[in-house]
Structures are given as structure tokens and as C-alpha cells.
């Protein structure tokens, strides 16, 4: 029987970040976007971040916090890792931005850079590219956050024989300026970094 062990939990809302249940002290800059402030807080150099849409930025930032706890470098190939994400609005936030670039026939300039983010699975791809994650990379749309469904997919993702020992799994939603992210690093094995096991009722405490 596969067990799921939570190694890290990252919660990002429209104005707060919690890592493993502890609030991160993010400095807000004047005239700077919230997600950009979080990026600056992380102290990383990844210029591609600024090209991402807000959904991607939110998922990317959560993954950065989650991966920090692993002591693995982004450049290290991770063959036993997968990324499984869920949300409700898919890429609708950015779809609307793209629609604005084609709405006016007298000012019709479809933006390629905006268009490339009009799919929610681009988030899993960006995280996989950043961290050289070679396993499965999927995003699913569901009506609302469903812990049981996440748990079941976590079990499947880490089931015996797939060669996957680590999962980034969670809810990454961004729509109309509202950010709602809960991302976990879950592993098959318990180790010194394990916060708790995920036994189907175990993650509510991270929903801050």
C-alpha cells in the first residue's frame, strides 16, 4: 500500500504566503505586483518569470518554495518526479487578456507572448522545465477543490512500478486578480523533512 508523505506545503493567496504553515514575511513594494514581490522575496534570477501569465507565476512561485526544501538544484535532472495540478478556471484569466488583443478589428494585434499561456497545462510545463522534472506533467480542471480527488491522484501518481517517488501536486487557481494556491511536495518515503502523512483528511490544516 502506497503511503503519501507531505514534505512541504505552500499556500499562496492574494495577499499572503504560508510555507509549511508558517507565514512568510513578504515585503510589499510600491507600484509592484504581489506576485512580483514574492519573486523578489525568493531572491532568484529567472527572467522568464516576467513573461509568464499570472496563473503560471502563481504556480511557479509555489513550486520554488516547495523545491527549496529539497536541497536539489533546479538544474539537476529529476527522473522520479511528476507534476499534477488542478484548478477551476483553467487559463481563463489569461484567455481574457488575449481576447483583448483581438477584440478591436481596427487595432488587431494578436500577441504571441500572451497566446502561449492560454492553456492551463503550461503551468506544469514551466515548473517541469525550471526543475528538469522528467516524469508526468498534467493539469486537470475540476468544479471545486476536492481533497479526496487530489489524494487519489497522488496515490496513482506515486503508485508502485511507475518509477516516481516525488510529486508536486496541488491546486493552482488565478482569476480576476484572485490568487488561490495550495501546493504540496509529496513523496513515497518518509524522511527527516516529512511534515506529516497525507491520509485523506490530513491537509485541511494547510488551508489558511
Amino acid at each position: 500500500m502506497t503511503e503519501l508523505y507531505i514534505q512541504s506545503a505552500v499556500r499562496i493567496t492574494s495577499d499572503q504566503v504560508w510555507v509549511n504553515g508558517e507565514k512568510a514575511n513578504i515585503t510589499r513594494e510600491k507600484e509592484s505586483a504581489w506576485l512580483t514581490d514574492i519573486y523578489r522575496h525568493l531572491g532568484i534570477q529567472y527572467p522568464k518569470f516576467f513573461k509568464m501569465d499570472n496563473l503560471c507565476k502563481a504556480g511557479f512561485l509555489a513550486s520554488e518554495f516547495a523545491m527549496k526544501g529539497t536541497n536539489l538544484e533546479p538544474s539537476e535532472e529529476k527522473r522520479d518526479w511528476s507534476v499534477l495540478l488542478f484548478n477551476r478556471s483553467s487559463s481563463l484569466d489569461n484567455d481574457q487578456n488575449y481576447q483583448k488583443t483581438i477584440a478591436d478589428s481596427s487595432n488587431y494585434f494578436p500577441s504571441p507572448a500572451v497566446f502561449v499561456y492560454t492553456l492551463s497545462n503550461i503551468v506544469t510545463g514551466e515548473i517541469a522545465i525550471r526543475n528538469k522534472i522528467m516524469g508526468e506533467s498534467c493539469s486537470y480542471i475540476m468544479e471545486k477543490f476536492d481533497e479526496e480527488l487530489l489524494y487519489e491522484n497522488g496515490l496513482i501518481g506515486l503508485s508502485e512500478g511507475k518509477g516516481i517517488n516525488n510529486l508536486l501536486i496541488g491546486w493552482v487557481e488565478y482569476i480576476d486578480g484572485k490568487c488561490d494556491v495550495l501546493l504540496f511536495h509529496v513523496s513515497r518515503e518518509k524522511n527527516a523533512n516529512t511534515i506529516c502523512s497525507w491520509n485523506n483528511i490530513g491537509i485541511k490544516k494547510f488551508f489558511l
Partner: protein, 85 residues
């Protein structure tokens, strides 16, 4: 020409979301792709849109971009000869 080069630097930074780059950071003669600013294929498409939107230049063949987007200076030269607005 200097004014166009400066304007182009600002427009490229804005269009390509080069958040941590200022106009002074861009060497007008440095390659835009590969090294230099490290732009990618999507950025190339965005530059094609920039040329049309701001200067009325419509590239008939995307491959033309290879020569035109060598550097900011080469872009400025091309724009000054071909602009319609």
C-alpha cells in the same frame, strides 16, 4: 537615429516584459538572440507584431526577421528605411 534606437530599446523592453533590463543595459550592436538578451522564438514573433503595430512594417516572410532582428541597431536601420508610420 539615436532617438529611434532609444525608442526601440524602450519598446522592446515593454513588449517582451524584460522587467530587470533598462535601455542602458542594452548594447545597440549586441545580438538580440542567443547571447545578448537571450530572446526566444516567441519573442521573435512579438517583435514582428511590434514592427507592424508601431511602424506599419509588415514582414511578408518570418525568415526576414533573422536578418532584421540581429540587433537593435540593425532593427533601427531597417525601420528608418521602411516605416510607413
Amino acid at each position: 537615429m539615436d532617438a529611434l534606437v532609444q525608442e526601440l530599446k524602450e519598446k522592446v523592453i515593454q513588449a517582451l516584459n524584460l522587467e530587470d533590463v533598462t535601455p542602458d543595459d542594452i548594447d545597440a550592436n549586441a545580438p538580440l538572440f542567443g547571447e545578448g538578451l537571450g530572446l526566444d522564438s516567441i519573442d521573435a514573433l512579438e517583435l514582428i507584431v511590434l514592427m507592424e503595430r508601431n511602424y506599419g512594417i509588415k514582414l511578408k516572410n518570418a525568415n526576414e526577421g533573422k536578418d532584421i532582428f540581429k540587433s537593435i541597431q540593425v532593427m533601427a536601420d531597417y525601420i528608418s528605411k521602411n516605416r510607413t508610420k
